[in-house]
Each structure stands twice: as C-alpha cells, then as structure tokens.
C-alpha cells in the first residue's frame, strides 16, 4: 500500500557548483494523493525532484523515504519504490516503443537475469494504460510530441513504483492531450493508490487535478495545502509576481486563476 510510505525532505539544501538552489527546505510529501508543484521558472522545482530521487546529493539536510535517507539507499532498491520522469529524457536512435517502455523494468532485473512474465505484464499494462499499445512496434523518433510523452509516461509506469514524480509531463501537449495525461495519472492514482507528484506550469490545471498544491519560491515551500487554500491572489502575487483574480471554476468547483496583464484588462489591478 502506497500510503504506508513516507517521503520527507528535512532541512534540504541542494545546488550546482557554487550556487545553492534549494535552501533549508522542509517538505512532507502527502501520501496517496496527487501533489502538484508550481512555481516560477528556475525556482528549483526540477532540482527538488532530482534531490528527492537521489540524482543530486544534498549539501545539507536529507531526504528520507520510509525512515531511511535516500542517499543511503541502494539505487535499484530506491528505484523500485520511487520513480522519476525527468524533464527532458532522450530516446536512443531507432528504439521501438515497446523496447523503450521495457527499459522501465531495469530496477526489477539483475545483471543477467532473464526477462520474466511479470516484466512482460508490466510493459503490456503500461502500454494499455497510456493507450500506446497500437504504437508498440513503432520507432519512438517517428512519433508526435504528444505520443512520445505518453510513451515516456508508460516507461515510468512500467517501473511500477508506489511513488511517481513527473517533471512537466504536459509540455509539448495540446490542451486536450494535457488533460488526457492528467486524467491518466489520476486513474493511476485512484486505481493503484500510487502517490503522484507533478510539476506543472498551468495553474488552473494544477488546481483542478491536485489533491495538494505546493507553491515554491526561490527554493522554499511558500505554501502547501488544498488548491483552495493555496491558489489565492496573494500567493500568486508572492510566487509569480503577478496580479490576478481567482474565481470558482463552475465546471469543477476548484479555484480558477485569471491573470491581469497590462493590456486587455477591464477590472482594476
């Protein structure tokens, strides 16, 4: 059961070279639901996900999964519980969809161990869930951006982790495909109980799909709570430096953010 896990960043400090990106961050990731991380470009969202999944060693503090620091957990063991789909993965030239999705089974396989029926089942399920089954034998380089994105998600699903972190899985997708991906992740969360953490730029989609919304500024958690608690005009001003109106979305009863630019605005800023 996924709610049996705990994932907790304590006093986490991470950076590159001489610069610190995330400073003394504390975050207890809510388990069993969908958490969406929002924040301005370069505020450290990807950096936080990379630190949580052992890709970046912390300068200070630690990330604790089930009572154990992730940097002390063997890489493959961690990869069976916690998955990450990075912002820009690369597909090897000519690889087919089924093969790429099969790479998701890596943490479940030994050095020379043979491919098991469980591996095949996981790949089949992942292709089916992402509706990419029809593409199984196609080379990934020949797919459209949206199809490719779903294939990468399928790879992450084939990893069968209880916690899945996704860094901007909806970039390159048109609005209906964005919804499709988020619906798919919601299905996964509801049917398997997978804890899902997504970085998103579209605040309104974030508010609609998040059980928990996390707003980051300058490598710090500015606010964490339900969309109604977090997506307020004050928070948006603090996090994005943007004036806006927040109303209730009649189609979902979630908050809906209407940005106020310098032009084309009929209300007072």
């Amino acid at each position: 059961m996924t709610t049996a896990h705990t994932l907790h960043a304590q006093n986490l400090t991470v950076g590159y070279g001489t610069r610190t990106v995330v400073q003394d961050l504390d975050l207890r990731v809510p388990m069993g639901g969908i958490s969406v991380i929002v924040g301005a470009n370069a505020c450290g969202k990807s950096t936080l996900l990379r630190a949580m999944s052992r890709l970046l060693a912390p300068r200070g503090g630690q990330v604790i999964l089930d009572g154990r620091a992730v940097h002390q957990t063997p890489a493959k063991e961690l990869a069976r519980t916690l998955g990450l789909l990075p912002q820009s993965p690369t597909a090897p030239e000519g690889i087919t969809v089924a093969d790429l999705v099969g790479r998701g089974r890596h943490p479940h396989q030994g050095l020379f161990s043979r491919w098991t029926p469980a591996d095949d089942q996981a790949v089949a399920d992942a292709l089916t869930a992402t509706e990419t089954a029809a593409l199984a034998d196609r080379p990934v380089d020949e797919l459209s951006g949206g199809q490719r994105q779903r294939v990468w998600i399928a790879m992450a699903l084939a990893q069968q982790t209880d916690i899945l972190l996704l860094d901007e899985p909806t970039t390159f997708l048109d609005v209906s495909h964005q919804l499709e991906v988020l619906d798919l992740l919601t299905d996964l969360n509801r049917s398997r109980g997978t804890t899902i953490v997504i970085v998103l730029h579209d605040l309104n989609l974030a508010a609609r799909y998040a059980d928990h919304l996390i707003a980051l500024t300058d490598g710090q958690v500015h606010a964490l709570g339900t969309p109604a608690e977090v997506l307020t005009e004050e928070t948006i001003r603090a996090v994005f430096g943007l004036d806006s109106r927040v109303v209730v979305d009649p189609t979902s009863n979630k908050p809906l953010m209407l940005p106020l630019g310098r032009h084309h605005t009929t209300v007072e800023r």
Binding site: M1, T2, R50, S53, R54, L55, A75, E77, L78, A79, R80, G83, L84, L85, P86, Q87, S88, P89, T90, A91, P92, E93, G94, I95, T96, A98, D99, G102, R103, G104, H106, Q109, L111, W115, P117, D120, Q121, A122, V123, A124, D125, L127, T128, A129, E131, A133, A134, A136, D137, P139, L157, Q159, Q160, D162, D187, L188, S191, R192, G193, T194
Partner: protein, 352 residues
Amino acid sequence: MTALQALPRTGISAAEIAGGRRRRTARRRLVVGILAALIVVAFVVSLCVGQTTYTPGDVLGVILGRDIDGASFTVGRLRLPRATLAVIAGLCFGIGGVTFQTMLRNPLASPDIIGISAGASAAAAFAIITLGLGATQVSIFAIVAGLGIALLVYGLSFKDGVVGTRLILIGIGIAAMLDSLTAYVLSKAAQWDLQEASRWLTGSLNGTRWSEVVPVVIALAVLAPVLLTQSRNLSASQLGDDAASALGVRVEHTRIIVIIAAVGLIAFATAAAGPIAFVAFLSGPIAARIVGPGASLLIPSALVGSLLVVTADFLGQYAFGVRYPVGVITGVLGAPYLVYLIVRTNRSGGSL
C-alpha cells in the same frame, strides 16, 4: 508492490509483448551465430590458404602439436599467431568501440576517432622503438597512455557537463597531435623499418609472435566480462543521466568502470597490432544495422570487429599482389563512412 489493474481500454497482452521480444532476441541470436560461424570460416581459411596451401587436416595436425613438414613452421609459427591476434584484436576493437559510441551517444565518439587508440599507439611505439621494452611493459605503457588521453579529452571538453561534439572535436585534434608524435618516434628509430612504421600508424599484423598475442587474450578474458556485466546499465544510460539514475543506474560508477575496461581492451589490442584503422569506429554501426535497434550491441559489435580484421588481413596479404597491412584495408573501408557520418550530421543541423 501493487499490480496495475488493467484499465478497460484497447490494449496489448503480455503474450504479445513477449512475442515481440522473442522475435528480436531470436534475430539477435541468429546474427550472433552467423557472425561467429563466419569468423571460424575466415580463421580456418587464413590458416590454410597462402603462398602454399595446406589442407584443414594438416592445419588441425599442427594445432594438435604434430610435426608436419613445412606446415609446422608456416602454419604454427607464422599464420596461427597472426590469425589468432586478428580474431582477438578485432573482438577488442569492436567491443571497445561500441562501448564508447553507446556511452557518448554518438557514432563519431569511438576511441580511434577521439585519440585513445592514437595515444596507445604512440606510447607503444615509443616503448618498443625508443625504449626497447618487452610485450608486457609495452601493454602497460599503452594502457596508461590510453587512460591518460581519455581523461585529458574528457577534462578538456568538460564545461557544465560534456557535450558530445566538443569532445569529438577535441579528440580529433589530440589524435592528430599523437599521430605526429608517433611519426616523430618512428623517424628517430635507429633502423627505419617500413613494417614497423605501418604498424604504429595504421595497424598491421605482420610478424606477429605468440608473446604479443598472450597479453591481449588475457585482457579480453578479464575485461570483456566486466563490460558485459555493465551492458544493461549502459543501455539504460542511453536515456540520459537523469532518466538512467531514476531507473536505479549509478551513472558515474557505470561510466568509470566502462571507460577503464574499454580503454584497457583498446590499449592492449593496439600495443600488439597497432591502431587498426576504423575497426572500433565501424563495428558498432554495422552491428546496429544487422541486429536492429534496441538490443545490446556489445557482442554483435565485437564479432563484427573480429570478422573485419580477419577478413581485411587476409585480403591485404593475398588479394592485391602487393601485401598491404591490415589497417590500410580497413582504412579504405572506414574513411567513406566517416565522411558520410559527418555529412549527415551537418544535414540534420548538428552543431558539428
């Protein structure tokens, strides 16, 4: 672990996935089998055929230690060590080359293009011609130089991560410098010897002795299994460092093991046979064409390398009336492919 409850949509079954995978594995096995058989044939032919031709029976007799008039010397002392080195060095070049190409995600990033073979060759030429050392010391010289050059090229091209094209261009520059170093060492040699020169500049198997073959066999027996254990990690790291780490690959760890093992294989083979031109560079792409995408190329590429060297050496000796060293033949094959790759990179808007 929770099993994914198949959502009721148009899907694919595990059996279909398994079927597709089995077809690919079967194709790979077939390719490996055919390549291995071809190597055996080429090996036997190059033992039997030559100025004087012996029957396979005679050759087998010599291998089993029987004393056969004429054949014992020609086959046992001349052809056998030479053909064995051709097979073994080809395996080393093939597997070492594809390892680099896979790791750096670029077919141009093979050790014979980016200066590693050139470094090993310059060091070996220096150790033999200037210092007069024996086979073991020569191998040590070559591997230290190969690793040193690998580090140097990597270090010089490092700036917020290593960009493939920068590494390749720096490697090509360093390779050119090392080639001129080799030429300098050769020009200072007491007795100028064309055979020796062609060995260190393009690779040659002329006058191979068992004492030169043995270190390469040992290197292959030790280092090839090390590379094979990294095969899956290497495939996963093709997805990019982040995605690979997220799949549980220790990327840096894998990279270090793989570089040391591949450079070791290239250096040992080069210390014995010289930098046989373009074998490391050609084997991987040829293997990829035959095997198809997605499969691990380490073994197919090793076999392609071996077949290339054995065949090219045989052709070089007997096909043209004049005897050419093996590297001249492989060079003629490889150069057009190099030009093709560079043209293609330019067309596709690569930054090369």
